[in-house]
Symmetry: C2
Subunit: 324 residues, 2 copies
């Protein structure tokens, strides 16, 4: 069923049908008749014909490194809602942590006439090294939690420094003095977390040992146990990710330390994981909903109003639960 058949059955031209489809001016009576014919026939306009004949389809591309990861999945969900609210569709590209593979994805998306691109997550700090080879990718782009020097990108960044300073002062207030700082991935965002915590610790007179490990429960647990064995003294483990915080809890459990009396743990991202732990883990909420809203705003502002790329910051807050 296409627009010609609808037009014929309604006794109008295809131009008129197109107008009722797109809210053009049509005599009310005619509009009703056309709508009825459409409904009766369960007519669905072809997205392809539409996309082919218009230059400005409302569609953007979302690139995520891993859709099976809870944090990214939540972002996609927020972006989905926000874009829908604004009448935009999106195509999703799951890059599977493979920047090379992402290249094909860019072309694929350009073939879909995306008007803009959103890169989700700090893994895309360096995406411009790949993108720079393509002159034709010249739509507005925004990095969500990814840092960029490239002026073509808008950025939505999280204020990790401030919140991590507040973590330090909070620990100080509660009487903790020696900390272990645990992180996994080296990227801009994680660099700022560390920087903020070290800065805050200095201001508050806390001692800090820094340790790096893989991003898994067991690796974090081992890292904490190792530090213990080596005689490093600490009563608080501050982490760059909830996964590491859970690992630290496991270490505390094994060492038979009481949390939070003998041992504090702080996570980052405030995911469901922190609630499933007993006691519930204090963690930083980076406000992903706000991050996503801002990303969509920046992108649509560039697309529709030609606004130049910008950088926006979104605040975080420490959600105090039972481990500090």
């Amino acid at each position: 069923m296409n627009i010609y058949q609808i037009a014929e059955e309604a006794g109008v031209s295809i131009a008129t049908v197109s107008r009722v489809l797109n809210g053009g001016s049509v005599k009310e009576k005619t509009r009703q008749r056309v709508l009825e014919v459409m409904k009766k026939n369960e007519y669905t306009p072809s997205s392809y014909a539409r996309g082919l004949s218009r230059a400005d389809i409302a569609v953007v591309g979302i690139v995520v490194p891993d859709i099976a990861d809870l944090f990214h999945a939540r972002m996609v969900s927020f972006l989905d809602r926000e874009l829908q609210k604004n009448g935009y569709e999106y195509v999703l590209f799951n890059s599977r942590y493979d920047l090379e593979k992402a290249q094909q994805g860019f072309y694929w998306m350009m073939g879909k006439k995306v008007r803009g691109l959103i890169f989700c997550g700090s893994m895309f700090d360096q995406v411009e090294t790949v993108l720079s080879q393509y002159r034709r990718i010249n739509v507005p782009m925004v990095k969500l939690l990814g840092r960029s020097e490239d002026p073509r990108f808008s950025q939505v960044l999280s204020d990790e420094v401030e919140v991590m300073k507040s973590v330090a002062s909070r620990l100080k207030k509660r009487g903790y003095k020696n900390c272990l700082y645990l992180y996994s991935l080296e990227n801009y965002s994680n660099g700022r977390k560390k920087e903020g915590f070290l800065q805050g610790s200095e201001e508050n007179g806390l001692s800090v040992n820094v340790s790096r490990c893989d991003l898994s429960f067991d690796a974090a647990k081992e890292a904490v146990l190792d530090a213990y064995k080596k005689g490093v003294s600490f009563e608080a483990v501050v982490t760059a990710d909830d996964v590491l915080a859970v690992g630290a809890m496991k270490a505390a459990h094994e060492l038979k330390l009481r949390v939070p009396e003998d041992f504090a743990v702080v996570g980052y991202n405030n995911m469901l994981l922190t609630e499933s732990s007993t006691p519930r883990i204090t963690s930083v909420d980076c406000n992903p909903e706000e991050l996503c809203k801002t990303a969509v705003q920046l992108l649509l502002d560039s697309i529709e109003n030609g606004r130049a790329p910008q950088t926006k910051w979104v605040g975080c807050r420490l959600v105090e639960k039972e481990t500090i």
Copy 2:
């Protein structure tokens, strides 16, 4: 940059360009020349033009109730990989647990010329009540973990009964005698879990109390504490979902019961949640990867070979960890 410009620059007709694009027979030398021109110009074929001019685009629709939910996100990730392997694209529709809203989604997908539909999750047990209004939705459809009486659907189901029977016999072997069975959602899959467990309990002489609560840590915890207060005696909590199992662990913690010595806990789905707990929760793995592979196979077999709808079962297994 379109196919005309490529053709002109390469000194051939657009038909020839189209042939190199689609692997038609073209003299090798000509093919190379065309490819070079394409590369030089970073040419990307328009997905819309292609979609408009072909009847059989390799695209299917995936419907999920909530992309932000870890279990569904994993499914999407597996389906994504499997479809890509088979040269298919997909469009994703996030129904947000709203069957009514899903209706629009079906039309939207039909406009994308999807050749088939995959419904993820047991929330789509009843989707035919909504779909039945549409004569035009007549592509092959498969329900992943959703039960259907409607012969238009293929189904990929999980063998919950068998695995839950094995849970009962496992509990028996370990000396547990009285169980609390906890579940939240009423659907086909959960019905079978309960049925299997009750059956297995009977065979093994276990006593079972059944209780229902909301799907949250706190609700499950309260349900367990309540049962305790009421004097129901049980040394094992078997659940229909890992979330409930975590709640049961919290209850055990509050009651100062040792797990698994005094108290066993069994989850369902074997999600990351079960690993973050201490001790790690024994849980049923329903093999989501195999479920997704099977769903894609069934769907593509219907699309490409006109195969009639079928029902396939995928086995589950109990992953024994530290709570039983």
